[in-house]
Symmetry: C2
Subunit: 338 residues, 2 copies
């Protein structure tokens, strides 16, 4: 079960202190701790890639939510992929698995919480992005929650991000007549048009989001995928055509605390018969097999384009995380571990 | 087709001037106008009851909406019921019909926009309330939009009003375990408990709506029927259990213009996987026959309790309308015409 290549310690990123508002690197600490011996049913994983995601900001606060807060002085958690280097379970050494005990270079994981992945279908890091929960979020949001129909005009926020960049391409596959994305800055908006197949791209940093959206979708929109809340959500509610559907998958603009911004005018939701539905990707895990089978094919044939923003080394994980909150990433934000 | 009992003029309530903010009686004018001769396919109706409803406030503004604005210098419109006294259609003289050309004592109506009603099932005025669009609104909101399930805890705003008072009773019929209503003042809250079968009643005029709701539904709520927007909607979103459903049927608190109040925190809608769905009763007219058949039975056997607030005389219609905007009504607000 163990041999000379098995480390005795792991390096972990701990929550050093809870942030107030926007977090800084001072909220994190890199700590080395002894690795426990494997208990029956556990595996030891050498992590090769880890994911940092905006929703993690919520877990840094000590408040009741759908998922427990991170604990001060303990390792953070998040998705990671890596190689099994020791096993007291039926998952063999050498397998590649995804699991939820990231933010460290070596993780001891209960095997029944790890998912072996097929690296012949796609490179391991895709299982944290397009073939991971961000891809599944895009798929479930458009198929199950907002229910894109052929001919729809679809608006996607954070469209150069991990969820949005996949969502734009899935919307087109579902028959959307027009897909409009918003992103921050000219580099990202160019990417939406040139790489991810959007029909129009809005640069929210230019201001007048409502005017930009009206120009890009003069007849209004049928579907909106909201990852950001705030002004985007208000503008989208106003631009919605009757019976429009909004998938609420997050609200980055509010993750650091109340923005003081007004919410959308839900009187408009009443009289336009809009539907606004929240989703957590964990409710759509039964779709995962079906989704991966499809999306791996799209990746393989080149029809699903993805980008990653990669930081190297566990010590860069806090910086990568702060970056994903401020839109420093294009596509999926990843940390590569040597 | 005409005889000596047929009047040559009708009295109408006109929009005299568009209101800014809260309307006053100065926005209305009582005008007498010649009645046109019946064209083929038309009927002349002597109105006996007319309905005033909060949504009409929106039609007093000159802005695009789901329904055309009222025109200054023209008669207002709304639901009414009355007796056919002349007919150039297949609807016989003597029939009782509902139609949409209210706010006048005599209406010339295209017969295909009038609906004969069965006064052996219920008194005519019920077809403007419990058996009319307000009753259907309550039914569709709970059955189709918010989908009440047995065991649910249901919260209903404006619960002493025309929609809310019926909705509370329908929620119990659908198997709700606990039905909480809010209303303004001790008289109305007592009525919720004593007459309409609510399990708990909140008096929003007492303040601390969130605290009152938490006391009345300590485990949270599964369904909320929103007729008012504003603080009620914010508090309900906060109190919602995961996968809760909100039916948005109006927003009285905002009808007189922007309130400046913040909208609900839709980040909570994302992470609790809430559904917020707007509805217009006109989308549920195919349900009308089914609903009337059921509700007429409930009225007849006394299991559906209703209240009306009645103003007498066409000249009182503006006062009645201002009253329904400020919560002066209990149950359905009606104007009785002599």
């Amino acid at each position: 079960m163990t041999d000379a290549t098995i480390p005795s310690t792991a390096r972990e990123i701990h929550l050093a202190a809870r942030p107030t508002g926007v977090p800084t690197v001072a909220n994190f600490a890199l700590v080395e701790r002894p690795l426990p011996a494997l208990a029956d049913g556990q595996i030891l994983v050498r992590n090769t890639w880890m994911s940092v995601d905006p929703y993690m900001r919520g877990r840094m606060d000590d408040r009741p939510s759908y998922i427990a807060p991170f604990q001060v002085g303990e390792a953070l958690e998040g998705s990671a992929v890596g190689a099994v280097i020791a096993s007291a379970s039926s998952i063999p050494v050498g397998a590649t698995v995804t699991h939820f005990a990231g933010w460290r270079d070596y993780s001891v994981v209960d095997a029944d919480t790890a998912t072996p992945v097929d690296t012949s279908l796609a490179a391991p890091q895709h299982y944290l992005g397009a073939l991971g929960t961000t891809g599944l979020t895009a798929y479930a949001a458009l198929v199950d929650v907002a229910r894109v129909e052929p001919g729809d005009t679809v608006f996607i926020s954070a469209a150069a991000g991990a969820v949005g960049s996949v969502a734009g391409q899935i919307a087109k596959r579902l028959g959307a007549a027009r897909v409009v994305g918003s992103a921050g800055g000219a580099v990202k908006t160019a990417l939406l048009l040139d790489e991810f197949g959007f029909d129009a791209a809005l640069d929210y940093r230019e201001g007048d989001l409502a005017g930009q959206l009206a120009a890009a979708a003069p007849g209004g929109i049928d579907v909106y995928l909201d990852s950001v809340g705030g002004e985007h959500l208000r503008v989208a509610v106003e631009a919605m055509r009757p019976a429009g559907r909004i998938a609420l998958v997050g609200a980055i603009s509010g993750y650091n605390g109340p923005t003081g911004e007004p919410g959308p005018d839900l009187y408009l939701a009443a009289v336009k018969e809009l539907s606004l539905r929240g989703m957590l990707v964990t409710s759509y895990l039964p779709r995962f097999g079906e989704y991966i089978a499809k999306a791996a094919g799209w990746l393989a044939d080149g029809t699903l384009r993805t980008r990653q923003t990669v930081y190297d080394g566990l010590d860069q994980a806090p910086t990568a995380f702060l970056g994903v909150l401020s839109g420093a990433n294009t596509g999926k934000m990843l940390v590569r571990l040597p």
